[in-house]
Amino acid sequence: MSDTINLTLKIWRQKDASSPGKFETFKLDGVSTHMSFLEMMDVLNEKLIKENKEPIAFDHDCREGICGMCSMYINGRAHGPLKGTTTCQLHMRHFHDGQTITIEPWRAKGFPVIKDLVVDRNAFEIIMQAGGFVSVNTGSPADANAILIPNPIAEEAMDGAACIGCGACVATCKNASAMLFVSAKVSQLALLPQGQVERAERVMNMVKAMDEAGFGNCTNTGACEAECPKEVSVSHIARLNREYLMANLKNR
């Protein structure tokens, strides 16, 4: 089996947020199957730079699947065809020789395209600022394990905290809904003792910020969970709904 493949890449190009974009097709030969998807993009960009062309803008940072910076809608799927994998952790061995790969940016009103494959995910930051935190008094560090948390609860909170905020849930949802992201962030704090003080206020504010950012409404198709690189469960969405209704009952 040969270790290199030849590819045709159909990539979305867009000069800036206000320009209309279009697909551009590139041929890339001799791509090592051991490369990651982003390394393949690097090779393409080096080629473009040598040809005196504008390289393709795309987001990336850690390249080890933990920061949530990489994105890309690859061949009709967020982060490509593998389950539980970010684009940076996707390797070219999952593609075959002669394949055409279509690469698009995340598509959502809440995530406007800035350039090529880069989208503005600031909406997630705004949602986090609305309530995705716990207020603590600063001072000397508290004793570890001073507050006891049963293991199953800690585990469930960790499952929510595993969300890296990449936005694949929004990108893949037919309604461009951000419910999986918001539910993961609400869940992790609602489950823990430290999150109790702001519990009701948090969920109300975060849902409000989510709606204002222009994300759609969840219709429970479950696509987000299937495409989430951290496999965050939609059961967090059920918890978010429950938290939201309880907060309404308590507050008013």
Binding site: R77, A108, A176, A223, N241, M246
Partner: protein, 219 residues
């Protein structure tokens, strides 16, 4: 009033409204199915007629009828509003989207199945409900059922519609529980299973009647 608008203006509130009306319509389906299954007494519709008679004479049922119509209308308008909102949330679509890899067809097409059910409902009400309720038709409901199912075209349309209804319920019923927050990791599979069983009972129950008439098991 303000607290009501506060709950229902955000998107989750509107979905709760979808879930509540949807579940109420599910209860109605059970009641309707119960009535239809009375035909299996095979007594030339005696029990069935008795039942429709009681329904039309009970004040409480008359009141619930209005709640039912209200639920239908809210369910539809709310769905329409949410759908418009959802379309706005993605102004530019993807050139390539492999949705079948991550979600079921019926969960993604609730609007389509819902619209078909609405069309069926209009035809269905015109055939059975309106003449009796509003046009002063006092003839036998049973005779009309027999008459309608004599037409294989109508029977086929009826069966197809209840299959579509089954698909709608298969997603809708469990989805309603999810939206109301009445689900978690361990209950979700059970709730899903119950939703599917419910959808199957409704579809098979309703579809069996025209089939039974066709094979002259019922007469």
């Amino acid at each position: 009033m303000s607290s009501i608008t506060k709950i229902f203006s955000p998107t989750i509130g509107r979905k709760v409204l979808m879930a509540l009306t949807g579940l109420f319509l599910c209860v109605f389906l059970c009641e309707h199915l119960y009535g239809n299954l009375l035909l299996y007494y095979n007594d030339h519709g005696h029990q069935f007629e008795l039942y429709t008679h009681i329904l039309t004479r009970t004040l409480l049922i008359r009141i619930v009828e209005y709640v039912l119509f209200g639920s239908f209308i809210i369910h539809m308008i709310d769905a329409l509003m949410l759908t418009i909102n959802n379309k706005k949330a993605r102004p530019i679509g993807y050139a390539m989207q492999k949705s079948s890899e991550n979600s079921s067809w019926y969960s993604r097409n609730m609007g389509l199945t819902g619209s078909i059910i609405l069309f069926f409902l209009i035809v269905h009400l015109r055939t059975f409900f309106f003449p009796h309720r509003f046009l002063g038709d006092t003839g036998s409901m049973f005779a009309e059922v027999v008459e309608a199912f004599k037409n294989p075209l109508y029977s086929g349309f009826y069966i197809l519609s209840v299959i579509i209804l089954g698909l709608h319920l298969n997603h809708g019923a469990q989805s309603a529980f999810h939206t109301l927050g009445l689900s978690n990791k361990s209950y979700a599979p059970i709730i899903k299973l119950c939703g599917t069983v419910f959808a199957l009972i409704i579809t098979l129950g309703f579809a069996s009647v025209p089939v039974a008439f066709y094979f002259e098991f019922l007469k």
